[in-house]
Amino acid sequence: MRLEIQNLSKQYDGKVWALRNFTLALGPGVLGLLGPNGAGKSTLMRILATIANPTEGVVRWNGTDIAQQPDELRGVLGYLPQDFGVYPNLNAVEFLEYLAAVKGIGAAAARRRIEELLALVNLTDVRKRPLGGYSGGMRQRVGIAQALLNDPKLLIVDEPTAGLDPEERVRFRNLLSELSGERIVILSTHIVSDVEATATDIAIVSRGRLVTHAAPEALLAQLDRKVWEWVVKSEELPAARQRFLISTVTRRSDGVHARVVADAPPGTGAQPVPPTLEDAYLDAVAGERRTEGQ
């Protein structure tokens, strides 16, 4: 099972490049796709989900070009888009039965699968209620259920935890971890903790380009002894922000505790601290911006 993305580019209206020369190869596991707004994550996912064509480059699923033969992938694809709708007059069971039929799943298999999925996403007790009366979080869970209907080998989920409460978020993360063994999962999100909890690989995207692709441990190792906790006075903070990349600040009685990503100690009294994925993400994006600016 292999997904290869080679020199993928996507241009909108002949002007804006949403993706540029994006190359990546994936095997089973969870890929956490991180990047700022407008980085090109959703464009990449739409291309991988076969609902957008690249301007340049090729995507191969087990060696087959998905632009030429999209049904090769669609049969084993589960896709949860960032924005999607539901038919408001159908209930969850009817909606999932409909999508199961569209995905070519037989009635009996679909019925069993839907019951199981509704239990999994905690919607069993509201399964007969019209979707028009669902809250945003409940609709999102219906979206998650539909993505898993056909037991996908490639699962693409774009901001899947948006609108979910903390408990449901944890449940979904656990589900992703459980699913990842025998399939490729691509998880795009802004929430670094979601990636931290589930991803076996991380790809950071910025301005349509792949900034880095590595295992979380490797990303963290790159920042070893490069993250510092530095106590500064409140009035010194703006100047510090100008000079250093500060990932978080905490105000305490002795001053502002700033978490600084820098090659050398930012000032006297700065103590090295273990890096987090958030530090790694911010450092990678900032580094890419610096490169772009030069």
């Binding site: 739409r46 609902i51 896709y79 539901v86 038919y87 037989g106 007790d125 809250s135």
Partner: protein, 534 residues
């Protein structure tokens, strides 16, 4: 502050519309109408006469064309301004501002007026161009060209703009039923203007033109009092010409036209009273408000029970992460089955229809079975195939309207299985609802009508699907189908009778519609392929 807000509501809405691809299509259609007028396919005849193409005649001809076409088709073009704010969520933002209902809706009506005004302006320019091109009369008289647009077209457009807003504010008229209702309302208004010659009823202004032109033609030799406004190719008869000096605008005529401005304002006031300000619990329609509250309560109850774990779901909520497991699908379980998709599409199509809807459909089915052969049976079939128009109009647009496109288009067989299933479901619906007439024709060996019945059942969903896929809206089919239904099977006009409602029927017509079905299905497939590939 208020006028500025009004201006910006209208401006933003206008810009949003004219920057859409569909507006270019509308302009192209307008230019085509002007081209047809120049070719002599849009004419006003007075028996064997027509006016010399001077400024007065062309101003009248093009303004009448503009008023006629815009009031008929333009309504469907502009009836989406409030709905767009609802759909995009901008309405929620606007609802939280101090802008009042009347101001908001006036801004929307002004935007409507600007859109249809651009269309009328194109036809006014065409009138100038035609006079130069045809060169039948020397000297352009700008006032005589412009005045009919000011006194005939503008009041009609102002009223239409307000009426479109009203339709969007009244539950029941907002959707497909309103689109169909408008066509009949417009037809009634047109007939009232022509038959009564009462200025206050004559929205399109045909009655005005008729009175004025007949008066001028009164003394022409061989003139017996005929008047025709015709859109479409005429018999090729060469017409004699006479010089028409234009309207003599009396105070009474102008007052009658200005009356539409007053009526437009009244319509806006009614719309403001009905407008719910994007909150179903407001407005005067209490029934809908109660329904909306019930829905909201249902959603809240769902949240309370399911999300807070207070309902029957705690066992699931409390399930340990390690207990989560999905049974793999058996091999072969996901092999495509067309029948399954077809059943799902049929269910989706009919879901939400009330018992009353089914009862009426059943009544029409029995009626078409019981009706005697000939005109009566054809007429009942025509009504049996008007009733499901709102079901067919959802075909091809449902995925876009409800935002399910990415879910469906990323599925295997979205083009090869789901799209044919949608059409097949629509055709099955047509066959079943029209089965009364069809079965009787088959049983009596009336093969021409049987073929027309089958051809019609295939053609209607193909038309709905093709228009839906390409336009992304159900309005185009609703408007076009209703007009076609009226002109073809109801009038009846042989070439437009796609269902064989007229007693005398040439077998060539159903064969033609079978061919058109194939073409439309190809058009729909190409459009869907384009949608799938982004």
């Amino acid at each position: 502050m208020k006028s500025r807000a009004l201006y910006h509501i209208a401006r933003a809405d206008f810009l949003e519309r004219v920057r859409r691809y569909s507006f270019l299509v509308t302009l192209a259609f307008t230019l085509y109408a002007a081209f047809e007028a120049n070719r002599g396919n849009i004419v006003v005849n007075l028996g064997h006469y027509r006016g010399v193409y001077n400024s007065a005649w062309l101003g009248m001809l093009l303004s009448l064309t503009a008023t006629f076409l815009i009031t008929m088709v333009g309504f469907y073009v502009i009836k989406n301004t409030v709905e767009r704010d609802q759909r995009t969520g901008v309405g929620q933002i606007l609802a939280a501002t101090p802008v009042g209902r009347l101001a908001y809706l006036t801004g929307k009506a002004l935007s409507n007026l600007a859109v249809v005004g651009v269309i009328a302006l194109v036809l006014l320019c065409a009138a100038f161009g035609m006079q130069l091109w045809r060169a039948e009369a020397a000297g352009i008289d700008p006032w005589k060209l412009v005045a009919p647009f000011l006194f005939l077209t503008l009041p009609a457009l102002v009223f239409l703009s307000a009426l479109a807003v009203l339709f969007e504010c009244v539950p029941g008229l907002r959707g497909g039923f309103g689109n169909i209702f408008y066509f009949f309302f417009w037809t009634a208004l047109l007939a009232a203007g022509i038959q009564t010659h009462i200025g206050y009823l004559d929205l399109v202004g045909v009655g005005f033109v008729e009175s004025s032109a007949k008066q001028a033609a009164h003394d022409l030799p061989d003139y017996t009092g005929g008047f025709t406004f015709q859109i479409g190719p005429h018999g090729g008869e060469s017409l004699r010409t006479f010089v028409w000096d234009g309207f003599h605008w009396s105070a009474e005529m102008i007052a009658a036209r200005l009356g539409w401005f007053v009526l437009a304002f009244v319509v806006l006031l009614v719309a403001a009273a009905c407008f719910d300000r994007f909150d179903p619990s407001r407005g005067i329609f209490r029934r809908y408000a109660v329904r909306g509250r019930q829905l909201a309560r249902g959603a809240r109850a769902g949240l309370t029970d399911a999300e807070n774990g207070n309902g029957d779901a705690p066992a699931i909520a409390a399930a340990a992460p390690s207990a989560m497991h999905l049974t793999p699908l058996a091999a072969g379980a996901a092999e495509g089955r067309f029948a399954g998709v077809l059943a799902a599409e049929l269910r989706l199509m009919l879901k939400g229809r009330s018992r009353w809807w089914l009862l009426v459909a059943l009544g029409l089915l029995i009626g078409s079975f019981a009706a005697p052969a000939g005109e009566a049976r054809g007429k009942v079939l025509a009504f049996a195939w008007l009733w499901p128009v709102l079901v067919w109009s959802g075909m091809g647009t449902r995925e876009t309207r409800h935002g399910t496109a990415p879910l469906i288009f990323s599925s295997a067989g979205a083009l090869g299985r789901q799209l044919p299933a949608v059409w097949f479901a629509g055709a099955l619906l047509a066959l079943v609802t029209g089965a009364g007439a069809g079965v009787r024709w088959l049983a009596s060996g009336d093969w021409a009508h049987s073929l027309a019945w089958i051809g019609g059942a295939m053609f209607i969903p193909a038309l709905a699907l093709a228009l839906g896929v390409w336009s992304g809206t159900s309005k185009l089919f609703e408007g076009l189908y209703t007009a076609w239904w009226y002109a073809g099977p109801v009038q009846p006009t042989a070439a437009l009778d796609f269902m064989g409602a007229s007693p005398s029927l040439s077998p060539r017509v159903p064969i033609l519609y079978c061919g058109a079905t194939l073409l439309l299905l190809c058009v729909a497939a190409v459009g869907r392929r384009r949608q799938i590939r982004g």
